[in-house]
Subunit: 600 residues, 2 copies
């Protein structure tokens, strides 16, 4: 973009590239609908409001025009798609800028993964703004693929790969002021510091604010959000696939506080992006709820741009990127034509962009080999058997007088999964024991779960690090499902009714170089390869969506009644959300912040 | 400030330095009044809302507490006082942060002046945030003391002396995209770029926005301000001594657009600061007009902090500076106790601060000699006589047939000053000619005006650069007034009824090393020394105010009926505001942007 030329177009001395006439602009500055033309030069807006000459005129015929939507916090990896494919899904939704935290890929391949996300975002019509992952690894109670401290992140900031610090999930570390956390916050001083502190209130919340954290997207109640907003946090209302806070938080919004509220999606699976949408869905839902439409648009545009200092985004104004979309009804904005960086990139829900097609075509070529070969499991070295420890057994026998059909008894900590929640319970239950081994018990919906370490290189004969446990709530009656998407360390997680099915699923994932598999006995029932860091596919997102749906359907056929058992499984290994989780190092009692024994 | 200690206080694990209890906090985030305590650690707020232990407790007894006010744009030099004395005037008004453009001193001594303003602001309880002067000199049609281009400004940005680019007055250069202007804007990309474009509308305004300028403080009508706001400019409503836009612009403010509006004072003389106040006056006036009080406070606090990215200012919240003040009545907030950087610095309008007293005591010692010796005029070389040019006379005689009592006739361009405006008229009038020289004619209120170049070093015998002309509207019947405050070049400007008085005033100013003088014949009637760059006094601002008032009274006694003839005179040499102005290089037709002849 040539500034001298831009100014010449703005002055009206040379024709604009395009003129969009007869539009009703959602002016997020004045809070009004403004009937005006928009003159474009290259990828920016040169002028608004005056008649300009242009090489191409487009008559908007009285349509509304809103600024391109901004997703204030999203993990692109959760779309199971590489950036160009993710862009193909959200651009038709009017989303032209996303602030992303690539902490999934960073946990697998470190800064190389962050740079890959940056490089593969270059040239896309979607502006992908990267925040530095703040908590890689999430804790010491897991094995992941990288450890990023302040000295790893500073070069990314200096070379412009990242522009702020992403969700500081180690909120206990912030509140306590640990040196590692303080070093990271200091490195990003003056930059946006995103928060992540579910349920934090009162004095610890004050400390979290005092440390400089400026936003929060984990609020689940109006009371919590109101307190955080009053302490200075921007509230990023989230409507993810697995964490839907929008309707709970809509009553928070008032004319007086709305400027401090933004919208974000955090994690959305392909099907949700394609069927329901992204930030556009949140705008519609907010308006339908009764929020003033311009206020709703502001939360989806200018407010996020303000919080992140993205002054080329968030509004239709001279000098800002020519990012906007048309729609017909202010009461329910259905995105029609989407312009990004000055070009028409989508129409009626379908992506059109040449740049996008080009990027997609080249996508897999761009992926460094190191990012394509990340599932380092010696399948011979994976032992899923869980022998009953002698001490546990004998104690158990002494402590009970009940008579059962199981000859040897043991009591175990079982992860209690709860539908649509990342929180789990710790359930103390008797194990099903056969021939000295604790095994799954489908009658009580107790399934075996394993987390197989996949990051460190192995030689032949190496015994793999495997965390073993049991879980309730997934409902499988037979077979097993496995995935290399397992927040945040993304080891291989597998849940099954029998060890054979689990082993088969693991082997197939190793063959695919990562992904999702459902197996029963020796048979692969469904699979979705995710060769990019074991997290993302390079295929068109519609294909990914079909494969994902098939996998999910098969899991349902195997007995699970969870809405999305795959996504649910991916959070059962996340040792920062209470109460009981499983990593490759074993069961984690999150509240105690320590590894605990499976057997009591 | 120790972050680890701060967090410990925030968590409630160690006592706060101070706890302000039973306050009604103006919460600019939620837009509500919040009954809560404020816990301080060192110079910041550690916690809000919870009961804390503290070494000192202060019962606010139900008083309101508002965030320290932010002046979004002020030239400290206009207070005729050095920073520590300016601070003494505005802190008792609840102003705890000012964004300042030191372009007056920069025009005299360049970057050394900017650094002096920065250094003499260190350690003050008032946060003085410096923007880099963008237009030094204002044009090529003057002689000033420095030329600052992008390469001069970049080191100031890099070492933290400045944080953004101050009012880009060369708006024609921006709109046209001249290389010098583009270089400066590029150097400050991503930083706040303040605007200054009186009356700019339509396509040129689009160009001004497209170049990246983000604010504007020169609006005089609601229509102009509404257009600028809609194009993305923050509107800084100004209430200066000489340019009072507040009441004209209050009708602009709506609940929908108020977030994009800030308050600033630009230029205020000591008397206005002391009698009327600063930003606090604007808040009161806005509330009295009918603006919601919390909205008024936001325009005076958070909005400015947002625009400038001053995230430690503008609100009462953990991690922000402990800057706030108490008051009793939300309908008319009269500032009572002022806390800045955690300390009580003023009470009931009186400054208390030890730091301030210390800074004031050391003030003159800190002023480098180069900044104290800036009036380089060889008084022997100043010739104020205006001979009638032969060509002009003869043409005049040919062109007229009227008979008058003046034997030789000449027609001159006279600057037409208008009360309370910086704009002037060009008035074509017959000169009063005596013995071949054009002289002042008090009967028609035509006074002689001279601008004497004072920046370049002179040797004995050097003939000084002097611009000569005539001006109407000042009303002096006798004597002369002179000043080294003459925007923006700050040469010596003098207006008088006779040459002797003018010469006497010039000589006295040279003796004082700068300042303001009124003389009649051989007698000095009043004077105010301004030894710091010829712009500022190091004396207590109350003394400056008294001296200034005396000078002004004397000018009134000499016949001027202008409210403030001294301030008015200081803008008669500013060759960027139409129509006709006088610099040391001569008469400037601002619209033609060229030097024009005095004689037609």
């Amino acid at each position: 973009m040539n500034t001298v030329q831009l100014l010449s177009v703005a002055r009206g001395e040379q024709p604009a590239d395009r003129l969009l006439k007869n539009g009703k602009i959602v002016n997020v500055f004045s809070g009004e609908i403004e009937e005006a033309s928009i003159a474009l030069y290259d990828n920016v807006i040169a002028g608004v409001g005056d008649a300009y000459q242009a090489r191409e005129e487009i008559d908007l015929d009285g349509s509304y025009v809103a600024p391109g939507l901004v997703d204030a916090h999203v993990h692109i990896e959760s779309s199971l798609s590489i950036p160009s494919q993710f862009a193909a899904a959200v651009l038709p939704r009017g989303v032209t800028c996303v602030v992303t935290d690539p902490h999934e890929i960073a946990n697998v391949v470190g800064t190389e993964g962050i740079r890959y996300m940056s490089q593969s975002s270059q040239g896309l019509p979607l502006s992908i703004m990267i925040m530095a992952p703040s908590c890689v690894p999430a804790t010491h109670m897991e094995t992941n693929g990288a450890h990023l401290d302040d000295e790893d992140l500073i070069p990314l900031l200096q070379d412009g790969t990242v522009f702020g610090l992403a969700e500081m999930m180690n909120y206990p570390g912030v509140v306590q002021g640990t040196s590692e956390v303080i070093a990271k916050l200091s490195a990003f001083q003056g930059r946006p510091l995103d928060g992540h502190a579910p349920g934090l209130r009162g004095k610890p919340l004050n400390a979290y604010a005092a440390a400089g954290i400026g936003s929060e997207h984990e609020c689940t109640t109006v009371e919590e959000a109101a307190e955080k907003l009053a302490r200075g946090f921007y509230i990023l209302i989230r409507e993810a696939t697995n964490a839907r806070n929008l309707h709970a938080l809509l009553p928070l919004i008032t004319p007086e506080n709305s400027r401090r509220i933004c919208f974000c999606t955090d994690d959305r699976i392909p099907g949700d992006l394609i069927d329901q949408g992204s930030i556009d869905y949140m705008v519609r839902a907010a308006i339908l709820f009764g929020i003033d439409p311009i206020t709703a648009f502001r939360m989806a545009t200018l407010n996020s741009a303000d919080w992140f200092g993205l002054h080329k985004h968030g509004a239709i104004a001279p000098g800002r990127y020519a990012n906007f979309f048309t729609f017909d009804d202010l009461r329910c904005p259905i995105v029609r034509d989407v312009y990004a960086q000055g070009k028409l990139v989508a129409k009626d829900g379908t992506s059109l962009s040449d740049e996008l097609a080009h990027a997609q075509k080249d996508a897999m070529i761009q992926v460094p080999q190191a990012i394509q070969q990340t599932v380092r499991i010696n399948t011979q070295g994976v032992d899923l058997k869980i022998p009953i420890p002698h001490q546990g057994v004998s104690q158990q026998i002494e402590n009970t007088s009940a008579v059962t059909q199981i000859a040897i008894r043991a009591t175990i900590r079982v992860i209690g999964a709860i539908e649509d929640q990342l929180l789990t319970e710790e359930r103390i239950l008797p194990a099903k024991v056969v021939e000295g081994y604790a095994i799954a018990d489908t009658e009580r919906d107790i399934l075996k779960m394993a987390v197989v370490e996949r990051h460190t290189p192995k030689s032949a004969g190496t015994v793999n690090g495997v965390g073993l446990g049991f879980i309730q709530g997934f409902g499988l009656q037979r077979g097993a499902m496995a995935s290399t998407v397992a927040h945040d360390h993304h080891n291989l997680v597998v849940i099954g009714a029998d060890d054979d099915s689990m082993h088969r699923a693991i082997k197939q994932i190793v063959v695919m170089g990562g992904g999702v598999v459902v197996a029963e006995g020796d048979t692969i029932l469904a699979e979705l390869p995710l060769p990019v860091a074991g997290l993302m596919s390079d295929r068109p997102i519609e294909e990914v969506r079909v494969a994902y749906d098939q996998v999910r359907s098969v899991v349902h056929l195997l007995g699970s009644s969870l809405h999305d058992p795959l996504m649910a499984m991916s959070f059962m290994a996340l040792e920062v959300i209470p109460k009981l989780k499983l990593t490759d190092k074993g069961l984690v009692d999150v509240e105690k912040f320590e590894i605990v024994d499976l057997f009591l």
